[in-house]
């Protein structure tokens, strides 16, 4: 069993597991941090941005970095299935499934598919509505890249940076998705069974169990033990794993999500009271539901009842609507609401009372209905594209306004760089509900996997906080670290396989008890293998051989493999054996003691029997009937295996 690691990003993993002749890709996250190297894509022409010196504004292409061009490590067309754990970890899907010869199936839960589709649609929409006059690719050439300024010069593997996919590619990729439900057992080629488990991180997010009858691999990705909107994490099903692959821990191990949420609310209220606007760059699904729920409870007490909340995204409406229809994927509290029947999320009420409004973009209705001061939720959190760029331009110059970062994926300083100098206040409240090191060590203690595999980042404290030994995984035995492009041999030996004995054969077996509670039976059977399932059938009786005159011919043929004689075990007791011989008319026996046992001389028959602890030797000339009798008598005392 091998693990190919295609991504070095611990929260946007992409691993390939080879297990029992199946090739399974675990997630395909898209690392988009490379967009920070580019200039923002403004919705309206910005003279300021186009005059910025030094930056490669002449280019203006926004590229997304693909996880890794994996071709050197692995042929992508050999991948049988892709298992998706949550909608953030599937953004590279079109790069894997399109134009690579991929013919397999992608498995994901329904919310993961629907929301993943929305997020992809959003990115494509952001890119396509600002068509670029020109684009350049020559700079990706290593020679030219060396001459480029700043961080670009040092960027690794720029040749793997790719242009954003099209909607057509998204649709084609997503048409390969097969929906699964939690705890559904999916058979892959009859060899392996995979099953998604609730991971508690986002709507429909899952961890995966990959198992055969005797081996079990758990894949833990983006999981949360906090009580937010999704169904709680299923921990007990991870027990008894041979290998547990651990990815997607919190990116903010020192930031407490609850504290951050409080800070978010208080900063928001402060700005609004002072007459400023609040900008929240965020993804269109996920934490935003919790932010809105939190605000729903907070609005009255902070007397923000009249402040408008705007959610601007091409998929804002769909995201809000979809969140309400996934009752079975929600936490218990929200499920109970649906039974009443009431919408599970309170943003339905915010919309009904006109406190929250959503628009596909800043154009159209929004421009006429827009009132300040207000709170705007919009993407993209990298501040490089999407409607957020416009608000940065609009509000950046006033110190009354505040931008509050809640998504942990991008460094907020890098994100803000092209907008400097900035008068706007800036608050960093990253909310990452994924497992922290404390929670994960407790979890591992609970589920007790034999081996843990994790990104190497988790095996040492973060570079900036090298003294914090609590910010790393300490396990016994130590976890197996992986880095980008490494191939791990998982410590795993398969010893057994499942076969099915058909009833006819099962009924014909003759068990004999060897020890108390332990019986054995010798089995001769025909193995039938179909779809990786093996069944054992009775050996068909050979057709009776017609008495042949050409006996010699028979000898020329290779030996027919008959049922071999069983192995023997035990010992032949002297006294009892002698008594048995007597019963069969063999009376003249001379017993001679030797170092290892006895030699019996059957004088009348001129035959020797050597009896020892672990062996019996019958020396008998040319007397076949006698030999057969003696053999059967000896066998009476022995166990057959």
């Amino acid at each position: 069993m091998k693990l190919y690691c295609l991504s070095g990003h611990p929260t946007l993993p992409c691993n390939v597991l080879k297990f029992k002749s199946t090739t399974i890709m675990l997630d395909c996250g898209l690392d988009t941090t490379s967009v920070l190297n580019f200039l923002p894509l403004p919705l309206v022409h910005s003279p300021r941005l186009s005059k910025l010196p030094g930056w490669i504004s002449k280019d203006g292409t926004i590229n997304l970095e693909k996880v890794l061009d994996a071709r050197e490590l692995l042929d992508l067309s050999t991948i049988d299935v892709i298992l998706i754990s949550n909608y953030h970890c599937m953004m590279a899907l079109p790069y894997i499934t399109e134009h690579t010869g991929f013919t397999g199936t992608v498995y994901a839960t329904e919310p993961t598919l629907q929301i993943g589709r929305l997020l992809m649609e959003e990115v494509v929409n952001f890119m396509e509505r600002v068509p670029k006059a020109q684009s350049a690719t020559c700079w990706k050439n290593k020679e030219i890249q060396r001459m480029l300024p700043g961080p670009l010069k040092d960027a690794v593997d720029v040749w793997t940076w790719k242009r954003c996919y099209s909607m057509q590619e998204v649709n084609s990729a997503l048409s390969k998705v097969q929906l699964v439900g939690y705890s559904q057992k999916v058979e892959l080629f009859g060899a392996v069974q995979v099953s998604p488990l609730s991971s508690g991180y986002s709507l429909g997010s899952s961890n995966w169990i990959i198992q055969s009858h005797h081996e079990k691999v758990s894949y833990v990705s983006g999981s949360s033990l906090l009580t937010t909107h999704p169904q709680p994490m299923d921990q007990s099903s991870l027990k008894n794993s041979d290998v547990l692959i651990l990815t997607g821990l919190t990116q903010m191990p020192t930031a407490n999500p609850d504290g951050m949420l409080g800070e978010f609310c208080s900063n928001l209220a402060m700005t609004i009271r002072a007459g400023g606007n609040v900008l929240v760059p965020c993804y269109s699904s996920g934490v935003i539901y919790d932010l809105l729920e939190c605000l729903y409870q907070f609005i009255e007490s902070a007397s923000l009842g009249t402040t408008p909340f705007y959610f601007i995204s091409p998929v804002a409406n769909s995201s809000l609507e979809f969140s309400q229809i996934f009752a079975e994927w929600l936490c218990h509290n929200k499920q109970t609401k649906v039974y009443l029947p009431e919408p599970p999320f309170p943003h339905a009420e915010l919309i009904q009372t006109n406190k929250l409004k959503h628009y596909p973009s800043i154009h159209g209705d929004f421009s006429s209905e827009f009132r300040q001061p207000c709170v705007v939720f919009t993407g993209h959190p990298s501040l490089r594209f999407g409607d957020v760029v416009h608000f940065m331009e609009l509000w950046g110059k006033s110190s009354l306004n505040t931008i509050i970062f809640t998504e942990p994926d991008f460094s907020y300083l890098d994100a803000l760089a092209p907008y400097q100098p900035l008068a706007m206040k800036c608050v960093y409240c990253p909310i990452d509900t994924r497992l922290n090191f404390h929670q994960v060590s407790k979890l591992l203690k609970e589920v007790q996997p034999l081996h843990v595999v994790c990104p190497e980042q988790y095996t040492q404290p973060p570079l900036t906080q090298s003294h914090r030994s609590d910010l790393m995984l300490e396990l016994q035995p130590p976890p197996m670290p992986y880095r980008r492009c490494s191939v791990l041999n998982l410590p795993f030996r398969r010893r057994y396989e499942r076969v099915y004995i058909l009833p006819e054969l099962a009924n014909s077996l003759v068990p004999s008890e060897i020890k108390p509670g332990v019986s054995v039976a010798t089995v001769s059977a025909v193995v039938h293998s179909k779809d990786n399932k093996h069944t054992l059938q009775s050996v068909p009786k050979p057709p009776p051989v017609a008495p042949s005159k050409k006996r010699k011919r028979v000898m020329d043929e290779p030996p027919v493999v008959l049922a071999p004689k069983p192995l023997l075990s035990g010992a032949v007791p002297l006294e009892a054996f002698l008594a048995t011989l007597q019963k069969h008319g063999i009376t003249e026996v001379k017993v001679e003691e030797t170092a290892d046992g006895h030699i019996l001389h059957l004088q009348a028959e001129d035959t020797l029997i050597q009896l020892e602890e672990d062996g019996t030797h019958i020396v008998c000339d040319n007397n076949e009937p006698l030999r057969t009798t003696l053999r059967d008598l000896v066998l009476r005392f022995l166990q057959k295996l």
Binding site: G181, Y182, S183, Q184, K185, S195, H214, I325, A327, P341, R495, Y496, E497, R498, V499, Y500, I501, P503, A506, N507, L509, G517, V518, V520, T522, V523, S524, V526, V527, S529, H534, L536, V539, P540, D556, P558, P559, L562, K565, P566, L567, L568, S569, G570, V572, E613, D614, G615, T616, H617, I618, V619, C620, D621, N622, R631, L635, L638, Q639, L641
Partner: protein, 600 residues
């Protein structure tokens, strides 16, 4: 290792009768109750299944491993609070999320009608419904739920009503599939069908066993035409429905028709449940069909423009109107009240969109009865037109046949239908699929013998060795035979090679050897004699492994041949043939050949 039987035991009501479902299945030592319905045609004790059939004196909780409810219709879940709270059952009850949401509302509704309006006692209370629902574990589609270590269940979409499910119940390698009513026409959905799971028994309802219904579209057109004609001539249309299910689909149908034809006649929907019901449909939209799901963000199919809430006083309004009223079989409540008011006018029409249980007014008028005896000896003349449209999504013959083709069951069991019709379907199934088809009567047990194969863990070494022997591709003419030892210890069954079995059990091997001496005359030296034997054997026995070893022995397969001569007479040779118990098969062959050589 032995035969295990699967028993199916329909409790009163589920056998050859339509009215209520409650089936008991015993499989692999587990007892599962499928549905727990009540009979709408009775007002006395016969309304509920007779649970004393199950256990005479023990507690139900001890006997039953779980209860599974297929959908929210009262003839499938109506007796649940009675069973769990009044008879007493504390084990798990499984149903899908929508069923869990809607079931308590219908139960409460029914309770109100029976207890508050009719003043019946000995019925379950509101609190009992709540307590009963606390025992419910919600099911997701396709989720494999492990009830205990051995029993697992999996739900499939059935498309009957919102949240209806087929269930696959599995114990070891034995399994049963239970389905209420597969709506073949509802396949416009995620995955309306079942895997090819080859269950031992497929249990299906057969309410419409003989009808092979015409296409849904035809029926819809027919329905709209009839409604339209009645409205045109100024008549009133009554459509008795159950609050949830087909009603919503018919509402969508009329709504779009009204829109298109620009009709003005009012459409009403009785009962306060409407709005709530529509809300359920909206929140559980993932459980409805694909068309509705796809457009739900843009347009909510369950917000109606033309359909308004009904008030009791509207029934006396003049002019045409369409009213959806509950319940669906005209046995009580608002639909019955309206029916009484409108029955006298031949301009009016009642459309029965579903099946009616024997004993209900719906059943009587469908059978052409024109004079009805009402309470207090009054008779009611039925002059209005009575139409029947089988919109109810119970399984029909075609649906059942298709399901059998999909799931490939080994046995078929029909319940919830009328004996004659079931007999017809039974014949058809046995003829087409040549599988056994059972149709037990109420309280009768159908025993189906299953013959499960035995799962065993085989040592990978042994399996691979055998696979290698057989070559890379299976050859039908030469079966791969494997030999091994099955170790049975406690609950584990392991199949390993004999050598490994010895090792694992900590036993020493006992060697049994045989030696045979043959005296012969030969002038050659010992090595030469041996070599002659070797070359001769080699030339005669083709295809055998024959080796001449450096220590002065010849081996034919595992038979060792040695030559020695006596010190006095070098021509008198002794040939020693020695073999083990396991390797003695070719001894005779070898001996004959050697002897023949020497005496030539």
């Amino acid at each position: 290792i032995g035969k295990i039987t699967g028993c199916v035991f329909p409790l009163q009501g589920a056998g050859q009768d339509v009215g209520r479902s409650c089936i008991l299945v015993s499989i692999g030592g587990k007892n599962i109750m499928l549905d727990c319905g009540m009979h709408m045609g009775y007002n006395d004790d016969r309304r509920f299944p007779d649970f004393s059939y199950i256990t005479q004196n023990g507690r139900l909780t001890d006997f039953l491993d779980c209860v599974i409810i297929s959908h929210f219709h009262l003839d499938h879940c109506g007796a649940l609070p009675y069973m769990s709270e009044m008879v007493g059952y504390d084990g798990p009850i499984y149903m899908t999320h929508p069923t869990k949401a809607i079931c308590p509302i219908l139960l409460e509704d029914f309770r109100k009608i029976t207890v508050d309006k009719k003043g019946e006692t000995n019925f379950f209370t509101s609190q009992m419904i709540k307590d009963c629902m606390k025992k419910v574990v919600p099911l997701n589609l396709h989720q494999t739920v492990q009830v205990d270590d051995e029993l697992e269940i999996k739900a499939y979409y059935a498309g009957h009503v919102l949240g209806a499910a087929m269930v696959h119940i599995k114990v070891g390698s034995e399994s049963v599939v239970y389905t209420v009513s597969v709506n073949k026409y509802a396949k416009s959905h995620i995955s309306a069908w079942i895997d090819k799971c080859r269950p031992d028994i497929l249990i299906s309802e057969s309410t419409y066993a003989t009808t092979i219904r015409d296409s849904k579209r035809c029926r819809e057109r027919d329905f709209l035409k009839k409604v339209h004609e009645t409205i045109e001539r100024g008549g009133k249309v009554l459509i008795p429905v159950f609050a949830l299910g087909r009603a919503q689909e018919l509402c969508i149908l009329l709504e779009t028709f009204w829109e298109r034809m620009n009709l003005k006649a009012p459409i009403y929907f009785s009962t306060g449940l409407t709005e709530k019901a529509n809300h359920y449909y909206k929140l559980f939209i993932t459980w409805t069909n694909q068309k509705i799901r796809k457009t739900f963000v843009q347009r909510n199919m369950f917000e109606f423009k033309h359909i308004k809430a009904f008030d009791r006083s509207y029934a006396d309004n003049p002019g045409p109107m369409v009213v959806f009223a509950t319940p669906g079989m005209l046995h009580a409540g608002q639909s019955l009240q309206i029916f009484k008011k409108w029955a006298g006018n031949e301009k009016n029409m009642v459309i029965m969109p579903g099946y009616c249980v024997q004993g209900t007014i719906g059943h009587k008028i469908l059978n052409g009865q024109r004079k009805l005896e009402m309470e207090g000896r009054a008779t009611l003349d039925v002059k209005l037109q009575v139409e029947y449209m089988s919109f109810s999504a119970h399984a029909d013959a075609k649906g059942i046949m298709q399901l059998i083709r999909m799931a490939e069951p080994r046995n078929m069991l029909l319940v919830h239908g009328e004996a004659v019709k079931m007999e017809f379907l039974k014949g058809k199934i046995e003829q087409e699929f040549s599988i056994d088809c059972y149709m037990p009567a109420n309280g009768e047990t159908a025993t189906v013998t299953t013959n499960p194969s035995v799962p065993v863990d085989i040592s990978l070494n042994l399996l691979k060795r055998e696979m290698a022997l057989g070559g890379p591709l299976p050859d039908p003419k030469k079966p791969r035979t494997m030999h091994g030892t099955l170790i049975m210890k406690e609950n584990s069954l392991k199949l390993v090679s004999s050598e490994q079995a010895l090792k694992e059990l900590g036993l020493n091997e006992h060697q049994l050897r045989f030696t045979c001496r043959v005296q012969l005359q030969d002038p050659h030296s010992d090595p030469d004699t041996l070599h002659r034997i070797y070359t001769h054997l080699k030339s005669v026995l083709k295809g055998y492994t024959i080796q001449h070893l450096p220590d002065g022995t010849v081996m034919v397969e595992s038979i060792v041949i040695k030559v020695s001569s006596s010190a006095e007479d070098t021509n008198a040779k002794v040939l020693l043939l020695s073999w083990s118990y396991q390797g003695g098969e070719y001894f005779f062959t070898a001996l004959c050949i050697v002897k023949r050589l020497m005496y030539q």
